[in-house]
Symmetry: C2
Subunit: 331 residues, 2 copies
Amino acid sequence: MKKFVDDPKDFVPQMLEGLALANPDTLRYVPEYNLVHRVDTPSDDRVTIIQGSGSGHEPAHVMTVGPGMLGAACPGDVFAAPPVEYVFETAKRLASPRGVLFIVNNYTGDRMAFEMAQELAETEGLDVRTIFVDDDVAVQDSLYTVGRRGVAGNFFVMKAVGAAAEDGASLDELVRIGEEVNAVSRTMGLALTACTPPAKGEPLFELGENEVELGVGIHGEPGRERIALGSATEMVAALVDPVADDLGLAADDRVALMVNGLGGTPISELYLAYGIAHKLVTGRGATVARSYVGEYCTSLDMAGLSVTLVRLTDEIERLLAAPADIAIRVF
Amino acid sequence: MKKFVDDPKDFVPQMLEGLALANPDTLRYVPEYNLVHRVDTPSDDRVTIIQGSGSGHEPAHVMTVGPGMLGAACPGDVFAAPPVEYVFETAKRLASPRGVLFIVNNYTGDRMAFEMAQELAETEGLDVRTIFVDDDVAVQDSLYTVGRRGVAGNFFVMKAVGAAAEDGASLDELVRIGEEVNAVSRTMGLALTACTPPAKGEPLFELGENEVELGVGIHGEPGRERIALGSATEMVAALVDPVADDLGLAADDRVALMVNGLGGTPISELYLAYGIAHKLVTGRGATVARSYVGEYCTSLDMAGLSVTLVRLTDEIERLLAAPADIAIRVF
């Protein structure tokens, strides 16, 4: 395993400490709960938005905490749901009188942690609602889910409800918006290589030199099938087509198009893939109104990418275009 | 080779096309010269800043074109200097009456291309100046250089002169500022794996499973030595110490600290490494006033990272903090 790791059990705490040291004016770090939160959260004026999930998907979700996006994140260890008490403590410490919104990717372990934390929080009188994200079209059920998995489309849910919360939207409004964004978001990914969790020290699965996992999950779960390594155009088409079909992409649709790197694929290849995806989408008559190229939801060091399409309404487009300020930036 | 590639000779043009498609309102792409430029360049009010170099280092430099940074970039093929005519044509098309500033990383091929283009441009009456960047402390001369190599410190030169150009600084002023930033910037990198150029189809060099190239160049050039794979703390210290020593870091210095991923290392590991680097720097009594964690100057898909320190003056700190708007963003 060639990685920057000290003791693997310290991987997540050391990452979070680095994040806090790099953003001393805007973020606070509470090591007991892997908790990273905005320095100005809780606020009396703004619903507190909290996301958890396992680590290993960075920048999701700890690096998307900030004005216009999350109020807090409390991740578990690599590819492990956060313990219930992390979520409960985060909700208690950061609850706003306007309420608390959980955003949860649809994995059984994450659902259990957040549902139990919500029950505990409600017994203490907190007003908590939860949005589940399930944008992955690859498989119906999977290793860790009943129903579809939540993957990179999560970004758009966070971004839209984050912008609305900043505008003072109520908890009910945020649930409506988040569920609407999820309902029009579709994603599928493809792995060129497996990923290596620090504590395991070796790749999670084996892929032959000319094999690709089509529809891979962000924890290395199997997808639809193993296909032969193809050209960039072939592989990107193998993602865009099922995503567009599942969304029912129509010729007069306006969409957001995301090419998301899974951790080990360089940005040069992501832009190359984006150009191919853009032509495939516009070739169907749709208009790409917003472009996203980079890493949003990764699987450690996995080489590969996912494609997400979001059908835009005026409201969603406005919320996606609103400003935000998070750790992932170049300045 | 597991990559998103069609025909390797189209790798750079397809990447640039994707970049242009993702940024239709802000960038223009001229395929004949691999030229990407701001839609609002040239300007009568602002010196035009141009950077070239080989491709394969993205986001440097094509993805750093925009307000507050570059006016244009005209890269060569992967790891190849741009042809003289690319640079000359870019200068001619985008020259401002305020002048043209070239920023060039110190590699022999890049120097030759930009120096010849400057001569050609001057015969046409253009006012051109050039800044050379040589921040890499690893080796004195190297495979492709006389003197030190230019690596990730280039970002700080671009950012500072870009901000000053936006404020209307003269060409002379920009040269002064750029040379001052270069003089206080130091970098060293380390490779865990080699990189694979698309046209070569296999890794550029071999590294054993427990070997690390300390002081690696951004084209896979040899560094100071091969060392054994160590803990994150050991490997980060092996970079911070020579960088800080070469800079002559003093206890009352204010610095910018960058941990730059080389392409294949996930952001989780970069933040983990940043935390270690931050403690080493502040352990020497210096103050980290600005933090940079992510990919700024890569080597295709190489796993590894570099550490850069920049000693800040009030002027440099102000210029680094100024706004900028480039393609690498999450919104």
